[in-house]
Symmetry: C2
Subunit: 424 residues, 2 copies
């Protein structure tokens, strides 16, 4: 039985594959089940009579994808922001993540995370848990109940980590395999993703073992790459034979090719590393606020767009303080301007249209045909209310969208559709 | 008759003159009329029985000062952010400001601005109007009714401006003088400030004439300084004899000394200019978001603090999209980190304590003893509610404040006291 055709009516904005913003004032978004049929200025005759949700004067946009976020760090977002990456990991992050052995604490904290994620603009996310399988399963359970679509990873950490947050390679692989077997087909919307934390905290045996699990279960992979200069030097020390940080992953088979892979940050990727990412289809999760907060630097998002790398946005909570991909869009624009001023005068800043593309279509594509309203895309949509931002003049739909990105963000999300279902 | 002594009870945070954050959990802020008497862990015996406003579990902090904001640009905040300064001025700013000849439009737009300023964390502000005296008077009227304390300037523009937003020097000076005479003593909380827009839009005759008005009426001055490299080159062309941009003002007597002066931006101030500002007591209005949005650069706030210049924060709406000084604090921290990464590795980023100082005590001092809870300071205070930011762990008062800056901002302001009066 075919699902019912339905319509949302309002001021519709979405990106095409060339990152161009399309706006249709007072238009009709027609969908069937989880599939977009089209966007129309006037409702076509064949759809007359189908149920219409009337959001006249409200903006309707695709759902947002957060390509990189640490659920267990949500509890300390906006705290200890005066520290740099490696100090921050040791004094704050690892101390907090160790608490997730306690399932009661995990339930309290993950419930707060999932509730807030559900309220905001994010419809899909790629999420780091901790090394703890039980807490990670609980996080997946909560996410699945929320109606959001997510990849979630039990993290692997087998070296250079505190005693209470370190596994042996054997234990790490055994736990990971068991976790994958338990959760692989358990949820409708939430799936496992292999998650070696980063090279400094995963020894070779662990990475090779993860590759075997990857092949057996056909899983995607997420990790961190070239975030910070000290970290890059450290990786070179740990894997002296590697020609670049990305190569340290590639040597274990966990860097793209047949493996859908997301690498967060890519602030200081070398030319070689960039070419490897392009050739192997590795996604860049661009996390502008986190890279600023942790004094890492500015990732060359313009360069990645020009080279046609796969790229989307990440909040990287708690390196980023804000769980909002709207905020990541404007943060991305802002740091790209400073990149032009101080690093590469010939690299044009990101435009608002491009930043919007990154947070919708760009990141969404990791999940398939997601993040646009082109026919055949999955039905993820947000209804935005910006009537609380007063203005004295007439505004176009595009202008209202730009204001929304800079001034409203998550609190302005009124309704939310994910994979064809209204969840708010 | 002496005014009644009153008390606010809650979790109190304020800066001392050395920019150190003082926090008193579950403390008592005692004040009389518009004067702070002190902050206490336990209520002293002599104040037993005075009226207490009980804000237990809420943060209580000094009011915020916005040292630089353009009221007529509020209507297009968050729009056209893909443009740089000079293009943005010509295509967007000047077009909008010309509309303020129409008093009806001005009333609509200024009412929106004042309402939102009243709702947020700002208690004191230094505000640019337009060249239009009538609209500027209306803005002052609305501000005075709101209970906020402000300096407001009728802007002078006599060259390099569009026909519908340009005065002759004679007209500009006549209008300014008449405006000063009308508004000088008219309002309790709102006072005039001389406001030559910047050197490129003010000829020498105008600046010298403004100096005469300044001396006659003992008025403060606000303008822009060294925001953008193209602008600085242009100023040198316009005033070839000047040794730096600041010197172009100093030659007309409008750069500090006996004249309380605020200069917005100071992104590219030379060593000479910095020394002049220090010697003459010129305030820097540090506007980090605007400097980023307009691709200007990053002002060296750390250097200005080290040299003990007078400095506070400005939102510079609409160069900055957000009217919140809380946001300016975290923007200031964030850009200072990128400054360290890309410009001056030996300049430590701003800390959260320093950014908080800048938005309270630093900027407040332009208004006298304002922006702290030290005894003898004026009574400006905010009561903040961050109970909508869930967290799984115990937090200190300082941690709650840091989270508030990054995650809540203006929407979290629950109550507001300005110059001894509760206005929200």
């Amino acid at each position: 039985m075919k699902e019912e055709v339905k319509v949302l009516k309002g001021d519709i904005c979405y990106s095409d594959k060339d990152r161009k913003l399309i706006t249709v004032a007072d238009g009709y978004l027609v969908y069937q089940g989880n599939q977009i049929l089209g966007v129309y200025e006037a409702l076509p005759i064949e759809y007359q009579g189908v149920p219409i949700s009337d959001y006249t004067n409200k903006l309707i946009i695709p759902g947002l994808t957060d390509l990189h976020v640490h659920a267990p760090q949500y509890g300390f977002r906006g705290l200890q922001m005066d520290l740099e990456l490696l100090e921050w990991l040791n004094t704050t992050t690892f101390v907090e993540e160790a608490k997730y052995q306690d399932l009661e604490y995990a339930k309290k904290a993950y419930t707060q995370f999932v509730n807030d994620l559900q309220k905001g603009g994010t419809t899909r996310a790629c999420i780091f848990g901790t090394i703890h399988s039980e807490a990670t399963k609980m996080l997946m359970e909560l996410l699945d109940e929320s109606g959001l679509v997510a990849y979630v990873g039990k993290v692997n950490m087998t070296r250079n980590s505190p005693d209470n947050l370190r596994e042996t390679a054997e234990q790490s692989l055994r736990d990971t395999k068991q976790w994958v077997q338990e959760v692989g087909d358990k949820y409708t919307h939430v799936k496992p993703i292999l998650t070696p934390r980063f090279i400094p905290s995963c020894d070779e045996e662990t990475l090779h073992g993860l590759k075997a699990i990857q092949e057996e279960y056909k899983l995607p992979v997420q990790s961190h790459l070239s975030e910070n200069r000290d970290e890059i030097r450290w990786v070179k020390e740990l894997v002296p034979a590697s020609t670049c940080y990305g190569d340290a992953y590639a040597r274990t088979g966990l860097f793209g090719d047949e493996v859908p892979t997301i690498m967060a940050h890519c602030v200081y990727s070398t030319e070689e590393e960039i070419e490897m990412m392009k050739d192997r289809g590795v996604y860049v999760a661009h996390c502008p606020q986190s890279n600023t907060n942790l004094s890492s630097g500015i990732a060359p998002a313009r360069l990645y767009l020009d080279k046609e790398l796969k790229i989307g946005l990440g909040t990287d909570v708690a390196g980023g303080a804000n769980l909002s991909i709207f905020r990541a869009m404007t943060d991305g624009i802002q740091v790209s301007k400073l990149y032009k001023v101080y690093v590469q005068p010939d690299q044009k800043p990101l435009t608002m249209e491009e930043a919007f593309y990154l947070g919708t279509y760009g990141g969404g594509s990791f999940f398939g045909k997601v993040g646009s309203f082109l026919p055949g895309f999955e039905m993820d949509a947000l209804v935005l209310d910006e009537s609380d931002i007063p203005h004295p003049q007439e505004l176009t739909v595009k202008e209202r969208l730009e204001r929304f990105l800079y001034l409203s963000g998550d609190p302005g999300v009124k309704h939310k559709y994910v994979a064809g279902k209204q969840i708010r």
